[in-house]
């Protein structure tokens, strides 16, 4: 998942990172910048690069387009029609804003992904009479596949309507324009469906469901925090579960940006995380280890220190926020509803959120909380960002909002060196996308709710399940498209339960999976369409998050399609023809025509953008941000909140959200779940507090993003499995209590599933916590043990209360030697 | 057992046994010839001598399996300037060649006795150099603490003489048995004459005494080596952990039974008048037990290869 201007969660008010029109002489500044930085030393046709050492015929620009938040150009050496080597970006330098975009370990292993034994070679249909997922296939022709899909779509639309057809979340190919699999509305599959009346939408995404669901209530929409290079202007940097050095490993993206910023400016950096992440290892002056899902409690403790010692930026809170104290509350809410009252124990719960109170919940000693509260309270500005681990919890919306609130307490919103407390924003090029279409259907479910919509569609309501655009779904999901994604099984919660649901083909009648590898989700297809890899087709690639660097990549067709694989554009064109909408779908254009159209349309907003031919030659085109740093979020709001109000009801930052207060009184929630108007800490099902009283499953399981894979992409590449083997992290104390030693094979289990993998006994994880790197490929053995070690064999379908999102870090389990 | 290094385990133990047996035979020759006459001695020692050849060849064949590209095998002698491995190969081939030459000379009674004695002495020294080279291969690695210690050459030489002595004893008794059986098959009977019986029993007693003494030395080396490793800490201490558990105990027990208990029996039972079969069984069993123990020991030795660094 990326969070950049070009790829933000949809369904929210869209704001531009860079107000191009507002920036004084914006385009002129950009033009100047481009002249200075657009054509960099060393930029030139890749074909001029040395290719003699491997005896290669040519070197062609391509890229790595997986969902890590980075996006890296690659140069591919071709010999006899085969890719023989992959080379890094050789344009630019080692300076922030003009850096070489050096691909990480994953991109460097792409050759073994392209030529993987798991590549799908020919269209397949589930053998008649066999169970879904049994792996019994019959080879069919492309024509048979197209015919069957088209006739099923026609029948389902007639019998159930367009809302019975669903595009499942998938981010296996990201950054591409024609080939992208996310956001769903911009995919070629959506374009096809929109030509025939649309499909059932979803809101949110598996990466950031809770924070995206919360940010609208707090800031009025997705803002993004200051960019990470802007930390140079801070007195203090605080990263809440933000792990750029493992999740965004590009040497042109945030790993490079954070490392260089730290190296050049050495701003004191605090990392808050249950793991001593590689970001903590690389950047942190201090590591604050806390129990998963307790960030909001920690913030409350910090706020107690700040309020007690009058360290909060009261002027900022009075001017820009509502809900901090009783003098700044919306009308019609009871007294004692402010955040200050909550902190001081003057609210409904009557409990002061003292450092001692927070210590019991978080595990962080009270003395540490006092020290940190003073340090954060006295530093100005404070550069606060959060990754998406804190929000991927049952109380994730509040977790995210609590960190936003801390940013407000320090008055650091809208100034250089500060931020909103969201994930980092970045400078990026406002590339156009004429390929995208609109969905005539407005009904939407939560990204995480599709299994419920298959199981009991018409029972899903707005008040109980977060259905949007309708009070209640009319029909269940009868068909699922899964293009370049693994959320059909591997990345969804509770895989064992999900798989059982999918095995019943009377509910969902047709599952079409488009992919180039036999993924876990591909195993559960009825029809399997073999996609080409990105090296087998042309596309223009939108940039990743890279501080103050803007760029775009033209990834050319490096080799001919392997086997009998075809492009997704061709697949959709053929199905469109059978549905009688080929003209509407293609508009008479080939894939290359569309790429040219993207460049032409983008040149209207970015006059310096080279022509398609030039870009194709250059491979990657770079622009340094015309401003001091990549992004300062809400600078306009900070400068003049009246002229530039937020999209919240009050126009201000809503620490107390009256909208949420309304929801808390009207929405129907499962027993024990709560929605609160304030970013309160909530003790939830399978949360940190329950873990300590749960005799059966006393360990909290989180699933950190892992270097071997981007989610599940690259998870079947031999070089990657060798470089970064799947292991479960366990604290030495917890291991000793169970007789577990480093590298012992163990089983982690709860009532939902059981996984088997080696143990990494390490002091780098907090006591009482296991981390199973997410995205490993679910591989059940004969006894129902997942020997692939997928964390989602343990996670739950239970959604978070507001966003109805995946709370996958809220999981309890036990571990034992295998 | 360390299957991975099986070729080296077999090669080093068999080669050391061959060297030891050759040297022990020489000692028997030197001491016994004066008392019992060369003829009697040669009759007893020659078959043992001829058995050394196949043993060594077997070891050398095993060592070939350690090479992963036998096509390039001849290159291994290129680096005698600095590589103990090259030196091992050179001395190993020299020992085999000289030993083969000496065996031929004995068989055909080439040259004078004096000349053959000189040849035997040179062969024996070459064999001792071979054992030294072998041990230096391991001793000379400062990166492997478990090997980079005086215990490596000491242990290698103990193995050499322990197995060499027991092998000679077993070979002598085997020769007697074989001659008796051959005589029985041809309808006659074979009885060793008095000097031969005397020679046999004296040798066996000597072998027994040597085995017990060497066992004592070995049981000194092992704890000293281990305490040294443990005291050094770090990687050395880590490798000391290899010398524990079932295999290690089995090794100690086997050697103790063979070189201790049975050898004591041998010393006490071996008289010119004692019956041949029990003595033969005793000496053969002692050899088999100790050979087993030493093979396990060598396996553990390779297991202890934990290198410093990364």
């Amino acid at each position: 998942m990326t969070t950049q201007a070009t790829e933000r969660p949809r369904g929210l008010e869209r704001r531009s990172f860079l107000k191009w029109s507002a920036a004084a002489g914006g385009t002129a500044a950009l033009a100047g910048a481009a002249t200075r930085f657009g054509v960099l030393p060393g930029v030139g046709p890749a074909n001029a690069a040395t290719a003699s050492t491997s005896g290669a015929d040519k070197v062609v620009w391509s890229s790595c387009n997986v969902n890590c938040g980075s996006r890296c150009p690659l140069r591919m050496e071709v010999s006899d029609g085969r890719i023989v080597r992959v080379l890094p970006d050789n344009t630019g330098d080692d300076e922030l804003g003009t850096q070489q975009i050096r691909a990480c370990v994953r991109g460097r292993s792409i050759r073994h992904r392209i030529y993987n034994p798991d590549r799908l070679k020919t269209p397949l249909r589930r053998a008649p009479g066999t169970r879904r997922g049994a792996g019994e296939w019959e080879e069919i022709t492309w024509e048979e596949a197209y015919d069957e899909i088209a006739s099923t779509i026609r029948r389902l639309i007639k019998d159930y309507g367009n809302e019975s057809i669903y595009l499942n979340y998938g981010t296996g190919t990201l950054g591409g324009t024609i080939t992208r699999s996310w956001p769903p509305i911009e995919t070629p599959v959506a374009r096809l469906m929109n030509c025939v009346g649309g499909y059932l939408n979803h809101y949110g995404d598996y990466s950031s469901a809770q924070i995206a669901g919360a940010v609208g209530y707090h800031y009025g929409g997705w803002i993004g925090s200051n960019s990470l290079d802007d930390a140079k202007n801070a007195q203090l940097q605080v990263l809440f579960g933000n792990n750029t050095l493992e999740t965004r490993m590009s040497g042109g993206g945030e790993t490079f940006v954070t490392q260089q910023t730290k190296k050049l400016h050495n701003v004191r950096t605090i990392v808050v995380d249950p793991r001593y992440s590689d970001t903590a290892l690389g950047l942190a002056d201090e590591w604050v280890a806390l129990r998963p899902g307790t960030d909001a409690a920690l913030v409350a403790g910090l706020a107690h220190v700040m309020v007690s010692e009058d360290l909060q930026d009261q002027k900022f809170l009075d001017t820009y926020c509502v809900g901090f104290d009783e003098d700044h509350m919306p009308d019609g809410v009871p007294a004692g509803s402010s955040y200050r009252s909550y902190i001081l124990g003057e609210g409904p719960d009557g409990t002061a959120k003292t450092p001692e109170w927070a210590a019991r919940i978080t595990g962080v000693p009270a003395s540490t909380i006092v020290r940190l509260g003073r340090e954060i309270g006295r530093a100005r500005p404070v550069h606060i960002t959060q990754g998406w681990g804190p929000q991927r919890h049952a109380n994730g919306e509040n977790q995210a909002r609590a960190i936003f609130t801390l940013a407000a307490l320090t008055g650091s919103v809208g100034v250089p060196g500060g931020g909103t407390g969201e994930r980092e924003g970045a400078f990026s090029l406002p590339m156009a996308n004429p390929f995208a279409t609109e969905n005539p259907v407005t009904t939407a479910i939560s990204v995480f709710g599709w299994t419920d919509a298959i199981e009991r569609g018409p029972e899903l309501t707005a008040l109980a399940d977060g259905v949007r655009g309708k009070d209640r779904l009319d029909v269940p999901i009868k068909m699922v498209w899964q293009y370049a994604g693994n959320a059909l099984t591997n990345q969804h919660g509770d895989i064992n339960r999900t798989v059982k649901l999918l095995e019943d083909d009377t509910k969902c009648e047709l599952i079409v999976v488009i992919d180039n590898q036999m993924t876990v989700s591909a195993r559960y297809a009825d029809i399997l369409l073999p996609d080409v890899s990105n090296a087998e087709q042309l596309d223009i690639i939108q940039q990743g998050s890279a501080g103050n660097l803007g760029y775009t990549i033209v990834a050319d067709k490096v080799i001919e399609p392997l086997y009998d694989c075809r492009t997704v554009y061709e697949m959709m064109t053929e199905i469109a023809r059978r549905l009688g909408v080929e003209k509407e779908f293609t508009e008479g254009r080939t894939q290359e025509d569309w790429v040219r159209a993207v460049v032409d349309a983008s040149r209207e907003t970015i006059p310096d953008l080279p022509s398609f031919e030039e870009l194709r030659e250059m491979g990657v085109w770079k622009v340094r941000a015309p401003t001091d740093s990549g992004n300062v979020a809400l600078a306009d709001f900070r400068a003049d909140p009246k002229a530039n109000p937020l999209a919240t009801p009050s126009g201000k930052i809503e620490i107390f959200s009256k909208q949420l207060w309304e929801l808390s009184r009207t929405w129907e929630l499962p027993e024990g779940d709560r929605i609160t108007a304030l970013p309160e800490h909530l003790d939830t099902w399978e949360g940190a507090v329950e873990a300590r009283s749960n005799r059966k499953y006393p360990l909290q399981v989180i699933g950190h993003h892992f270097k071997q894979r981007t989610h599940s992409s690259y998870g079947n590449v031999d070089w990657m499995k060798e470089a970064h083997p799947q292991v479960v992290w366990i604290n030495p104390g917890d291991a000793a209590a169970r007789g577990i030693e480093n590298d012992d094979v163990v089983q982690v289990f709860n009532d939902r599933g059981r996984i088997q993998l080696p143990a990494r006994v390490t002091a780098r994880i907090a006591p009482g916590v296991l981390s199973v790197p997410q995205g490993a490929w679910y591989t059940p053995d004969g006894k129902g043990v997942d020997v692939g070690g997928s964390v989602n064999s343990l996670t739950s379908w239970h959604p978070s209360p507001i966003a109805k999102g995946n709370a996958q870090h809220t999981t309890l389990a036990q571990v034992e030697k295998a | 057992m360390n299957i991975h290094e099986l070729p080296m385990i077999v090669f080093t133990v068999l080669a050391q046994m061959s060297v030891g047996a050759f040297v022990v035979l020489g000692v028997v020759q030197v001491f016994a010839s004066r008392r019992y006459g060369r003829e009697a001695v040669d009759r007893v020692t020659d078959p043992a001598l001829y058995a050394i050849g196949p043993t060594l060849v077997l070891g050398l064949i095993a060592s070939m399996f350690h090479m992963n590209d036998v096509m390039n095998t001849l290159n291994v002698v290129r680096h005698v300037q600095t590589s103990w491995l090259s030196r091992e190969i050179v001395s190993g081939v020299a020992f085999a060649g000289l030993g083969f030459l000496f065996a031929l000379a004995q068989w055909f009674r080439w040259g004078s006795t004096r000349l053959r004695q000189i040849l035997a002495a040179v062969t024996a020294v070459t064999g001792l150099v071979l054992v030294l080279s072998m041990s230096m291969i391991y001793y000379s690695l400062p990166t492997v603490p478990a090997w980079h210690t005086w215990a490596t050459p000491a242990q290698f030489y103990v193995t050499t003489f322990l197995l060499g002595s027991l092998a000679v004893g077993a070979a002598f008794m085997g020769t007697v048995l074989w001659r008796r059986r051959a005589a029985a098959r041809s309808g006659s009977s074979y009885e060793a004459d008095a000097p031969t019986r005397e020679l046999l029993s004296t040798t066996l007693r000597g072998v027994g005494v040597a085995a017990v003494a060497l066992l004592g030395v070995e049981f000194l080396i092992i704890p000293l080596h281990l305490t040294g490793l443990s005291a050094a800490g770090g990687v050395a201490a880590e490798s000391a952990a290899v010398f524990s558990g079932g295999w290690f105990v089995a090794r100690l027990v086997l050697v103790f039974l063979g070189a201790g208990l049975l050898s004591v029996f041998l010393v006490r039972r071996a008289t010119p008048g004692s019956r041949v079969v029990p003595l033969a069984v005793l000496s053969a069993t002692a050899l088999v037990l100790v050979l087993g123990g030493e093979l396990i020991g060598r396996s553990l030795f390779y297991d202890s290869m934990i290198r410093i660094g990364m």
Partner: protein, 205 residues
């Protein structure tokens, strides 16, 4: 004498991603099990627990390691075939026509530089991308490092710029082979022999 080449490794920047390692494998088409550049994670520390709270005292850092083309290359010294040899510029390479695959150098080298390739039956190792260098390009690992933690060049120049530290856990005492390696140490780097932590990923080396 030609300039003697070596590596510089900035431990403060390494996040253990192994792009160096895989870029090398891609360039040289190395199978699983043959890894010319490896990355060790050295970790140690303790936790203090007090009732419901805990305080970590933990350190961890990575070391990326190929071949240090040592001044006293023990692999060359012990090689029985002379396959392992030193070039003009101090670069140590394997002559595959001579190598017998005895793996003695593998025992000897404290950096795991010589790697046995079962596909050929020979040892194989880093030659600092002699082919790339001949064309004025950086070695694959250096060009790959997203963090810019790797550099190469004449060792005298590297030492003039970065000092001459190479005695950092888990590396051995540099006096053994005299590696042409300079390390800019991580803030928690332990001196060689301190033994406060351990390599936690030995199976990856």
């Amino acid at each position: 004498m030609a300039q003697q080449l070596g590596f510089h490794f900035d431990q403060t920047l390494c996040n253990g991603c192994k792009a160096c390692s895989v870029a090398c494998k891609d360039k040289n088409d190395l199978p699983v099990g043959v890894t010319w550049r490896r990355v060790a994670e050295y970790t140690g520390g303790t936790w203090q627990r007090d009732g419901d709270t805990f305080v970590p005292n933990v350190f961890s850092y990575y070391t990326s390691m190929a071949c240090n083309h040592c001044e006293n290359p023990i692999c060359v010294e012990v090689c029985p075939t002379t396959a392992m040899h030193v070039g003009e510029d101090g670069i140590v390479t394997v002559d595959e026509d001579r190598c017998v695959g005895c793996r003695y150098c593998e025992w000897a080298c404290p950096y795991s530089a010589p790697q046995f390739n079962p596909e050929t039956g020979h040892m194989s190792k880093c030659d600092m991308c002699a082919d790339y260098r001949a064309e004025g390009e950086d070695p694959a690992c250096v060009a790959a490092c997203p963090s810019r933690a790797l550099d190469w060049g004449p060792i005298d120049e590297l030492r003039a710029r970065h000092g001459d530290l190479a005695a950092v856990e888990p590396l051995p005492d540099p006096s053994i082979t005299r590696p042409r390696l300079v390390i800019t140490p991580h803030r928690d780097a332990q001196p060689t022999g301190a033994g406060a932590g351990a390599v936690v990923n030995p199976e990856e080396l």
